[in-house]
Subunit: 473 residues, 2 copies
């Protein structure tokens, strides 16, 4: 160990302070004890304390502020990452911090005491516990030694996904499929592997994509287009594409996050035609497709794609559980090969265990059976939520009845402070996603999820939401 | 569906060609059929074909080359990613393609027909199949519904890792631990979350890090320092740090990849002292620590760290299986919080299933038991490999006996063409890792792994390696 007795006293003080700073006890911006207190604590003259502080000031860890005292301005790791100015990271193509609201929501979502009207995840009462146990046991009984998978992922899973996609007229072979750790990772791979700094993503506005930092951090522009009743209009696309040469379209055609919109068949055809004509590649994020109520959505854009323009993203996270961290990309083989190479560079593939369990869900036929149940359960929840919304928000807001998915997009008749609404709701134990997370800045929208909270919590949550909106109007 | 009959003939030809290009049948650089052939195939005049080609040339997909014909120069996705010039991605902070050798090795490693003298992975005969089954079954029997985990990872696993690290004098609480999908992801998170473009990583040379693209793609400089017998020398660090202000040290102190070097206790102390003095954060990649033969390595740098300078990385990939994709980072809490936020942004956490299985390996005590067996098995393999190397490479090369880990770093007495060696070995069914992958450019080094190939393959592989070196000398 480092000898503690041979070092000079001022260095002892320095080490003590550095330790407090780096272990987070004295966070950036906090005031450290006075010179007098430190001198007393270490049994030294004030001049010794001053020597230590001067060294730390020179190192950039502390700053003396007249009339305030000595303030922590940095820590060793921060000196490196210059966290004080995350904006520079956009230019460097590095990852920005999550928006503070998103970060707070991420943290709150694992806390059980909150009523989660925000969470885009199935309630645990829809978790198929017995089936999951059976499947894991079956996988375990047949398992052979496993290690790194091949770059595109576990072949039996790719075969199963290929067969599954075939049923929705998406005809891709297993070699055109990449297994990823959820749809978010698919987007992360696209952002670092296919898109260049300065290129543009055309997308619906509002969009889930605005709540992410991965694209903006990579210096990619997000250009929103108005979202009509039946989904995106091809004419907007044509118009915007003229101005933006290197553009790709990101769309969420089934039960769009956050608005719940379902793109019509006609709209799909015209989007595909326009994108083919103008050579606009499409990222089709179709993770909510299976969660329909009355009838199945129109076939994917990918099924209409005759020229390899569509990169199709699917996942088990919204229909089974996000805990497996299993999703997939279907795209032309050269694109898949590039993305597979990049996935190898960032995490060497997804969990072999999760991939085997996912494959078994498909192969056993239990997945299709399970999703059917989820649809029924979600329909019931949707109806309950709509009834409660009608009861508590009538006259305050309008909304459309979703045809599937997790969300009701609530449109307030008068704008209110979303920050206050979010904060007050949180104080009352309710987490909600204000529209501004998705770049809807009119202070009139809330995304309400009926997928996660218990029926009782839905009731309490929506009732309180009504009162809160009233109090803020 | 898009009507096929109403479109003009030249557009049919365009679509046909686009499809061939985008599905990869006609790769970039290939020559497309002649105008005459296309005219015949589509039963049109040559002028119609010319119209189609001209459109595609204007779109940048094709190029007419005098005396050659019409060449594919791009595809839609490539137009976006401008794959033709991956170098620009370095500046954009995006991910470069793997070195072609590394990419080829990644692909070959999942092919069973090769003798893998390259693979940094335990042979499947060390896979604890029965124990793994028992553990998965136990996890399955006790499992409750699982979904997204909290940002830092599954708490029981973080507790187990904390207790495990405690045994090597690394005293970190579960809140200072982040679960990651393997050590590579730890490095990926550091590269995008803590290091800025233009900053420097000081590292051993050669180093595994040179085989990755994540740091260079992020615009981070790698500055190698000579690797002495007992590991890195602090004086080099001091010297280099003067020139590079924003620097972090990456080190692999136990059974270094690729050289096998073990850093001595004395060296560790002086590294920690120097880094503390000069405020150089340290990334300690300690994934081979447990794989010692005669005696356990000196305690981690992290155990000597009193000021939160060390970010410690561990993993189950080298000791149990990489298939779980489970590793961890231990660092001061503010650093962990930032990296956890970034992990949420890129993949929403690691597989819940893998995390539960990993936790059970620790909690049950079976992990410690298993690693003991791995050590014994590896020792035997190391002895066999050394005997074979002595038999077939004596007079051609020198080497040091490793004290643990997977690798023997073979130093050829005369330089040979590593490209030829690699290519010829591959032709003979042997995959090896030439030193230049790790930035050892003297054409004299090969990293030989005794961890993966069967004893028989080790024998064949090393014998053939001897013959190949002789033929190239």
């Amino acid at each position: 160990m480092l000898s503690k007795t041979s070092i000079p006293k001022y260095e002892k003080i320095m080490r003590y302070i550095k330790e407090k700073i780096s272990n987070g006890e004295w966070p950036i911006g906090s005031k450290i004890p006075s010179q007098r207190q430190l001198a007393k604590e270490f049994n030294v003259n004030r001049s010794t304390v001053i020597t230590a502080l001067e060294e730390l000031i020179a190192d950039g860890l502390l700053e003396a502020q007249t009339g305030v005292g000595t303030i922590v301005t940095n820590n060793t790791w921060n000196l490196l990452s210059s966290s004080l100015n995350w904006n520079t990271h956009v230019e460097a193509g590095m990852l920005k911090q999550s928006r503070s609201t998103v970060q707070e929501i991420n943290n709150s979502e694992s806390q059980q005491q909150f009523i989660q009207l925000s969470k885009g995840e199935l309630s645990s009462d829809m978790f198929p516990l017995q089936k999951m146990k059976d499947i894991i046991n079956k996988v375990s009984n047949h398992i052979t030694p496993f290690g790194y998978e091949e770059p595109r992922g576990y072949l039996p899973l790719r075969k199963a996904v290929s067969a599954y996609l075939h049923k929705m007229n998406v005809n891709v072979s297993p070699s055109s499929i990449l297994i990823v750790s959820g749809a978010l990772q698919a987007l992360q791979l696209v952002s670092i592997g296919l898109l260049q700094k300065g290129s543009t993503i055309l997308l619906e506005k509002p969009s889930y994509l605005y709540s992410l930092r991965i694209f903006q951090s990579a210096g990619i522009n997000l250009t929103g287009m108005p979202l009509a009743h039946e989904g995106l209009l091809a004419q907007h696309l044509e118009h915007v594409k003229k101005k933006r040469k290197e553009a790709v379209l990101y769309t969420n055609p089934c039960f769009h996050n956050p608005t719940g919109t379902l793109m019509s068949e006609k709209r799909r055809k015209s989007i595909i035609e326009t994108c083919t004509k103008h050579q606009i590649p499409i990222i089709e994020d179709d993770i909510y497709r299976e969660l329909w109520f009355e009838k199945a959505p129109p076939l994917p854009l990918k099924s209409l794609d005759q020229t390899g323009h569509v990169l199709y993203v699917g996942s088990l996270s919204k229909t089974l559980t996000p805990g497996l961290r299993i999703g997939w990309i279907a795209a032309p083989e050269p694109v898949i090969n590039r993305l597979a190479d990049i996935k190898m560079q960032i995490d060497y593939g997804s969990s072999s265990l999760s991939q085997r369990v996912a494959a078994e869900w498909f192969q056993s036929g239990l997945y299709v059976e399970h999703v059917k149940k989820v649809r029924e359960n979600l329909l019931e929840r949707k109806n309950v939520a709509l009834k409660l919304i009608k009861q508590h928000l009538e006259g305050l807001a309008t909304w459309e009845e979703p045809q599937g998915g997790f969300f009701i997009w609530i449109h307030l008749l008068s704008p209110i402070s979303m920050k206050s609404l979010y904060a007050r709701a949180r104080t009352q134990g309710i987490i909600l996603n204000p529209g501004h997370i998705y770049h809807e800045q009119s202070s009139r929208y809330i995304r309400l999820s009926y997928a996660y909270a218990s029926m009782q919590d839905l009731e309490i949550g929506i009732r309180k939401l009504g009162l809160l909106i009233r109090s803020l109007s």
